[in-house]
């Protein structure tokens, strides 16, 4: 039962954080390079611009769900299983989601990396 809870939490973390990552990445691309914005307009302009992007709030909510799923998972599974497994599976899910929703060019190098990471996750779960 303990393993079932841990892996359920990992599944929820992957789903929520992939949704959050895609929404936040979309938002930040709309904002532009925050380093440049900070230099020219200051910190308040950065914060204002980010908060004014509607998808940022949605991304933050998805990340909140992922965070509490992480707390839930950490109370049932080992740190060295829950964190790498959820983060790695999120990486693979993100590669697919970034290609579909963000139209990023996910080339051969990035797909091979995704498979290596997926293989690593399988080994960690054995």
């Amino acid at each position: 039962m303990k393993d079932l809870y841990a892996w359920s939490a990992i599944g929820l973390i992957v789903l929520a954080s992939t949704t959050g990552d895609v929404l936040l990445s979309y938002s930040m691309k709309r904002v532009g390079d925050v380093g440049e914005l900070w230099k020219r307009r200051g910190a308040l302009a950065v914060i204002g611009r980010v908060l004014a992007t509607p998808t940022f709030g949605l991304g933050l909510m998805a990340m909140g769900v992922a965070f509490y799923s992480l707390l839930f998972g950490l109370s049932w599974g080992n740190l060295s299983l829950v964190v790498p497994a959820s983060a790695s599976l999120t990486f693979v899910a993100n590669a697919v989601a970034a290609r579909i929703f963000l139209h990023e060019r996910v080339g051969r190098r990035r797909w091979i990396a995704a498979l290596l990471v997926a293989g690593g996750v399988v080994l960690m779960a054995v």
Binding site: Y5, D21, V22, L24, S25, M28, K29, R30, V31, G32, D33, V34, G35, E36, L37, R40, R41, R49, M63, F67, Y68, L70, L71, F72, S75, W76, N78, L79, S80, P84, A87, S88, T90, F91, N94, A95, A98, R99, L102, H103, E104, R105, V106, G107, R109, R110, I112, A113, A114, L115, L116, V117, G119, G120, V121, V122, L123, M124, A125, V126
Partner: protein
């Protein structure tokens, strides 16, 4: 890639590792949560270890947002993958978690995969805009131009 950008990527790695480790330490004080005790999960943020973990994770989040403003999502995540290895090392040496040889091999494979992708470009032109070679939209320049 400038030195500032490498510093931001390093910040993501270090702060996320420290944050996760502090959270794990804090959650040990509570034991296992069940679905019938979700209010306890909400109160967990009052634990000092969990609170410190959240502080580190907020710093990580600021670095992460900064990186996403100038690099692909599929670059930022793997480029900061050293965090997985750091988490495993902290789990093993500080929290005394047992890591089997197979799990070590998994960690090595993950590190190889993410290192592989991190060697590529940080930003790729959109598939929908094949002629575009530019970095993410510079809304700042657009604003200051007359």
């Amino acid at each position: 890639m400038t030195f500032r950008k490498y510093l931001v990527l390093a910040g993501i790695t270090v702060f996320s590792t420290a944050g996760d480790s502090l959270l794990a330490r804090g959650m040990r004080d509570f034991g296992g949560f069940s679905l019938h005790n979700l209010s306890g999960l909400l109160l967990a943020i009052l634990n000092p270890w969990v609170a410190m973990g959240i502080l580190f994770l907020l710093t990580f989040f600021a670095c992460y947002m900064s990186a996403l403003s100038w690099a692909d999502l599929t670059y930022v995540l793997p480029a900061t993958s050293l965090a997985y290895v750091l988490v495993a090392l902290i789990g093993h040496f500080r929290l005394h978690e047992v890591i089997s040889p197979t799990r070590w091999a998994g960690i090595a494979l993950i590190a190889t995969g993410v290192g592989f992708v991190a060697a590529g470009p940080s930003f790729t032109p959109s598939r929908e805009r094949p002629n575009s070679q530019s970095a993410p939209r510079d809304t700042v320049s657009l604003e200051v131009k007359p």
